[in-house]
Point group: D2
Chain length 113, copies 4
């Protein structure tokens, strides 16, 4: 497997991890009411990042197509998290950063194909 | 959730189940050497079917896009399984049928959007 | 694969489905604040039910051990959901029923070993 | 989340990654016939490592129990991979190392509880 794909797999797993941590942390916040969309997007993004990693691990010929979709969802999750990061939620800030990095790597896989 | 999406979720889970059963059965066949692509496609297809179900369960706005990709992978898996079904592999025949049904439902979700 | 295991796999997938539907529905309730534990347990239970199904699909020798743990988590999730079912939450009532059924089947796999 | 659990989550994800890479590589080997058990154990181990990570990410009270089971399966997978590593399969050697490391960390989580 080429180095670039290995990096992308690792970033996807790291991003899924940050998303799950963000979702779990949101569920403990007093403002959980305002974090519904964030929790749902975290769960969606973690799911798709894990799947993107798994299809790449299987060296699937669908890897680049799923990576493109993953990049879109990562950016959507980042956008939502950035709203709450602006109000001091550290787990959202961390998740947003990871999502942006993952989106960039996934997009570069997609266009490299 | 609307009835149609519920059906699609159930079919995706049923298809992932058939794919995993096919992969496990292939690994026990004496002709495992000829079943490499089948095993890999089974694993890819099971992964994407599960993810499609999960994004639909989360009522993700990416449900229809992922359903379209899932339909493509289901058809690719069916095509490979049909080769071995023609040589009497029952698990491949069953997996191929399920993949075709899942592809049809996923495609109908995708175009309904 | 024996009939009993096939039934257990299907029940695990059905239960995971009910848990995810419950989590997604809880996230839309006005009382989301009181449903934090329910959402978290739904996600835990869906995860473990899916994994129990997958290890059984792979005919793993760890199937019965994981089924026992799955039964425990299903019962814990059912207990939490029953509290909210008592206050009229239909998705919690449905999830609790499914979790109890899944726990029974998983436990019977475990003791059958 | 405490530092120790964070490390264990990362190791589980890394181990699942090595297992999936090993399974995909085994499927390409000319000796695939002798690698059936290895592929199946790789898939089982990847599944359980991912689930252990996910339950820890959700801060589940079942984390330590699943970690103990994960340690057992990691050791079983390592044992199988070590046989093939002795005959020069580099992906098996790498997978075995990762499984042993993951088993140790998971076991330490389990006894720390």
């Amino acid at each position: 497997m080429e180095e670039k794909m290995r990096e992308c797999i690792e970033k996807c797993l790291e991003c899924a991890n940050a998303c799950m941590h963000c979702a779990t942390s949101c569920l403990k916040e007093s403002e959980v009411n305002m974090l519904r969309d964030c929790i749902r997007l975290d769960l969606e993004c973690a799911t798709l990042c894990n799947t993107t990693a798994k299809l790449m691990q299987l060296e699937s010929s669908y890897s680049n197509t799923i990576a493109e979709l993953c990049a879109q969802l990562c950016n959507a999750c980042a956008e939502e998290c950035e709203k709450h990061a602006a109000h001091g939620m550290e787990h959202c800030a961390q998740c947003a950063r990871m999502c942006r990095e993952c989106a960039d790597l996934c997009m570069s896989m997609s266009t490299a194909a």
